[in-house]
Symmetry: C2
Subunit: 679 residues, 2 copies
């Protein structure tokens, strides 16, 4: 443990100041006098740190520093005289990060020197990321305002789940997302390796799993080892998930004898809950899984092993005479009882291979062994129930990134909130944290970064920072900075939009499309977009795929609109900004329509573009009324209000976010117009 | 050779139509009826092509097609029934591309089927790139308008030289640029591997070359082989350059005995012409080079081997008693004579190792062996002189990308133009083509793509397409499309700007900086930017580095301005576009200044931003006069004209390109105002 105590106080005023902008916010941050310059003389000393991973971490840190500042020359490292940042590590490290890791660190940045101190490598890694986030251009070049930080996480399990089954994600995608995870202090990579639509891990014992279950897209054991090592170097645990006994269609083309109904089977191409489930009545199923889990246990050093266990609809079991006879013999009534039996068998197999079971809510049946961890996609109530029964749990309900909800929504979900708020301390401590979930039905390797980032950073802050850190406006201000910084880790969440819009526009310049795109937000699965309309082969190349789920541009417009409503007379810069934005929207349709003509991919956007023009024109007129202080005709307001309500409904799986600032202004105009003479 | 004849006729009307947009333009293109659909059923058959590289090329083609359209599922290839594109290859291939290669192809795209036919793999590769360029979104999805193309290059040597010495460029940079080269049918990668600032190739015979001459940044022999194979697969020859006897400072830290003056030596950190030169008077120099060239000859299969030979200032030779005595003994008068002696010795060594010498203008001395190829950085006159003497040559003068001149400038330079225009056919045929040169004094791995592309595509067209293809406006229209398509090859020339601007803006949103950036253009070496102000360690992270050399946005504004002047009354869409653009410029400074406050990197841009606001305001007023048909006061016009002249002068190594459209309108307003009553 660290020698100093970490008081859980948040210096809210300082922490929320525009600078420095950190995400996640640290536990304690005190401004000091002066600034620390980052120039070509900058050096790092890690002489006291024996772990070879520290040297590798410093090399990565210097390379990121070069990219982030554009200053070359650190990449060969530098030791000895003129040290600028000293790392102080405690001796001794476990070979892999663990759930019980001490992740705390202390970072003291003074004008002449910076010190990063931690008891374990995890703290050093986190402190280096904090250091990178503190750098900004100043009057003499890149610098850090002097600051003393003490920091440690609120929850020990802060994860990102990535579904590589529904759509294939190659190693590069995984690796760059591990770098981005480390940048926001996430520490568990939950690798959803099998599902109905693809079996993505190489088995040497049962090679037909990947040969017939993956369309050739799977991770070799060599690649898996590489990813695990890559994660370990970044302080990230890797928890594999092989979802059983349901979500197993892709196992069965190669091994139909595992299924509860005769085959042949094909890899799933559609999405939803499938009937296929493993046969719990055959001893051969457990023999197979024993060997398979034993093989996988060798690849994944982390003690936690995820068996999925969600969404078994029971159809195959109900229709199988054999399974029903077996259930009857064993006194198992109904699907849940059969699954509990199955889980108990699996639990014993895991135990034999030194693994602790983790599964989705549904595994919480009677007689579940004590060590099991529940991952809840249903909500805090599941976790609270489990915690009261002595089970540990992590929250994922509220953290489903594929729904494409705003960061604000995820940020408001607390693993110990809602139904879990009244647990006693011992029970509450069983809630280990949470995981952002990136299911990939409607997301592929091209778009996945833009669906994870930057929103996962808001979830990372929820899981790391003190519970009291809840100001969403402040979060957004820092999230935009974090989003830009994340680019230097290699994730392409910002870079991908331009080329995808260019592709949609074909030989035309994409400028008019970009104006429309900036006014729109993508809708997610179950949230305006239906998985049932898609297969794994459906091109994800439409506007909805190219758009981020939240528009920074609309958010800026909303902020300006809110400022205008808060001050009378409205600030001229804000009015000018809105007028320009509304003017651009109003004028854009005339330019967009020729681009969309004869273009199958843009046809669905033509009504949206017309609506944007309407919004722009309405916004200009509302602004005029507000500026002049005159009341607007009631019927005009009523008509515009109806238009806004209509426009708020999604089109082409896209929401015209531009409606929000216009509606905001219109509502205020309506209020003011009802009180004549009010100025 | 192909069975059909390729008439050198350009169907100018068709070829210049907005669609299809090809770069380089083919020799002959005939529109046909209907269109060819690109969907998930698309298949390629290359059954008749025995060369394994064709299968690899098809796999790459399908992967690019997937990226370019966002349609998945081709990456596993497909043969047999339902073939859409059939490749017809002649049998037999050389293992590597050659200068004498038949690169012609015929591509016939009809609604039901496409046929690509070529005598050699080079033609197949070129045809596949043409096919990719033809795809665009249509009313039912991605499609190609039916078209029959016959094509072949004008020149056999169409190169890109990349300097990896002044700034290090890792393998990924080289590889993605090879992909982009192939996309525009460039066929020679000239790899400038050594210079004063770095020795970048691993020698096993003389390991101190890279150990002491590269700061650790060099290509291993394994990497060199990989790059050569990568290029070969894309139909690209690799010509290595080891620049001798000058530009050799980086050889000397490891082997000072090669130099004409005693050491010790250090790697060059500044730029310019250095004094250090190899000692032509010692036999040991030739023994060393014989062994070294022998080693390198094994790595590079192409028969051409570049020995540089440029810019020997003679100082070390003049100051060396030994060299002077040697010169006297051999009757060598002056630096040029000594260098000619040196070249003759090197030429014999090259011959021994099966290589043909190529060098810069300066190697053209008396008694130069007949096979030598001259690469001219001086101009067509050198080439013409050489051609008259029987030497072959390639042009690089006029193709220096690091000067950051507009594409229009490079496009106007013809290897057989100017002083080379009056050669007889035999002499003219000795001009083999040209090479775009990417010197890297002020360019690093981050910015290099944006300095090469898209302008190198205009040079590629000059070297491929018929001589008569010279319409710069048409070129620009196609270049913008080509620039966007090039992104799918992996080059980051467009993607890099956003993150670099974000970096400059620090924690602020970069929007105001982006408006300023879109109005500016970067100046290049010797063209507003002086290499003498820089070293290899100077950060290249300023606005000038983040900007492209040409602003697409200003070009669009110029086009709108030109249209306004051409029609009375001016078109309302054009007027609206200009008014919006000018309004944005006029309003931007108020938003930019807070971003630039306390920011050392942006301080130099503050006057530029003020000037942009002036231009915006002036533009709005000029537009008002032009629209109303009223004359403007003479003194106001005079004042604005002076302001434009002042603003045209570069600031911060950047040119405020926005001045161009304003000046254009102002000049017309001045003309009209001198004729009162003119409307």
């Amino acid at each position: 443990m660290l020698r100093f105590l970490l008081p859980l106080t948040l210096l809210a005023g300082l922490a929320r100041a525009a600078s420095p902008s950190l995400m996640p916010l640290p536990v304690k941050m005190d401004a000091a006098a002066g600034k620390f310059a980052i120039d070509q003389n900058f050096k790092v000393s890690s002489a006291g740190c024996s772990d070879a991973r520290v040297a590798a971490a410093v090399a990565r840190f210097l390379s990121r520093l070069s990219r982030q500042t554009g200053i070359p020359g650190w990449n060969r490292g530098a030791e000895g005289a003129g040290v600028s940042l000293t790392l102080v590590c405690a001796a001794g490290e476990t070979p892999s990060p663990t759930l019980e890791e001490d992740e705390s660190y202390r970072l003291a940045i003074d004008p002449a020197h910076a010190l990063l101190e931690a008891g374990r490598m995890a703290g050093i890694l986190h402190g280096l990321e904090t250091f990178l986030q503190l750098i900004q251009p100043g009057p003499e070049g890149f610098q850090i305002p002097a600051v003393h930080i003490q920091d440690r996480p609120r929850f020990p399990w802060r994860g990102l789940m990535l579904d590589v089954s529904r759509h294939w994600m190659p190693v590069e995608v995984v690796e760059r997302n591990l770098d981005a995870m480390a940048a926001v202090k996430l520490n568990v990579f939950h690798w959803h390796l099998s599902d109905d639509q693809g079996f993505r891990a190489e088995s040497k014992l049962f090679p037909r799993l990947q040969q017939l279950g993956s369309d050739g897209n799977f991770f070799t054991q060599e690649e898996i080892r590489r990813v695990v090592a890559y994660a370990r170097d970044r302080g990230i645990r890797v928890v594999p998930e092989f979802d059983i006994p349901g979500h197993t269609t892709s196992w069965f083309p190669g091994y139909p004898e595992l299924a509860s109904a005769p085959g042949p089977y094909e890899i799933g191409r559609h999405f939803g809950v499938f009937d296929a489930a493993m046969d719990p009545s055959r001893e051969a199923t457990y023999t197979f899984l024993d060997a398979f889990i034993g093989e996988m246990a060798q690849l994944f050093p982390d003690p936690y092993f995820h068996i999925g266990g969600d969404e078994v609809n029971g159809k195959q079991w109900n229709q199988s005479v054999r399974v029903q006879e077996f259930a009857h013999e064993h006194g198992l009534e109904g699907t849940l009882a059969i699954q509990t039996y199955f889980n108990q068998r699996i639990q014993k197999i895991l135990l034999k291979h030194g693994k602790i079971m983790i599964g989705w809510d549904e595994v919480l049946g009677p007689d579940l062994p004590a060590g099991t961890v529940i991952q809840s996609w249903r909500g805090q109530k599941s976790l609270a129930d489990a915690a009261r029964q002595g089970y540990r749990g992590i929250l994922s309900s509220g953290y489903y990134l594929d729904h494409l909800k705003p960061a604000r929504y995820h940020y408001g979900v607390d693993p110990q909130g809602g139904p879990a708020a009244d647990l006693d301390p011992a029970q509450a401590s069983r809630i280990l944290g949470g995981e952002a979930c990136m299911w990939s039905e409607l997301i592929d390797a091209e778009t996945v970064d833009s669906r994870i980032w930057p929103r996962a950073a808001a979830i990372a802050e929820r899981l790391w920072s003190p519970r009291e850190v809840t100001d969403a406006e402040d979060m957004y201000a820092r999230l935009e900075v974090a989003s830009r910084l994340l680019e230097w880790t290699g994730v392409e969440h910002r870079a991908v939009h331009g080329p995808m819009l260019d592709r949609l526009a074909g030989n035309h310049p994409a400028e008019a499309l970009r104006v429309l795109a900036d006014a729109c937000e993508a809708l997610g699965l179950g949230n305006g977009r239906r998985g049932g309309n898609y297969t794994t082969q459906t091109p994800l190349n439409r506007m909805v795929d190219a758009l981020p789920p939240e528009s920074e541009s609309v958010r800026a417009t909303e902020r300006a609109a809110a400022r205008i409503l808060a001050s009378r007379p409205p600030g001229p810069l804000d009015v000018a900004q809105l007028r320009q934005q509304f003017g651009r929207w109003a004028a854009n349709d005339e330019r967009f329509q020729p681009v969309a003509a004869e273009n199958a991919l843009l046809a669905e956007l033509r009504p949206l573009s017309k609506d944007l023009a309407l919004l722009g024109a309405a916004g200009l007129r509302v602004l005029g009324y507000l500026e002049s202080g005159q009341a607007a005709p009631e019927d005009w307001i009523a008509g515009q209000t109806r238009e806004c309500a209509r426009i708020e409904r999604p089109t082409a799986e896209v929401s015209l976010a531009a409606v929000r600032p216009v509606k905001l202004l219109l509502e205020e105009l309506a209020r003011r117009s009802r009180k004549p003479g009010n100025r």
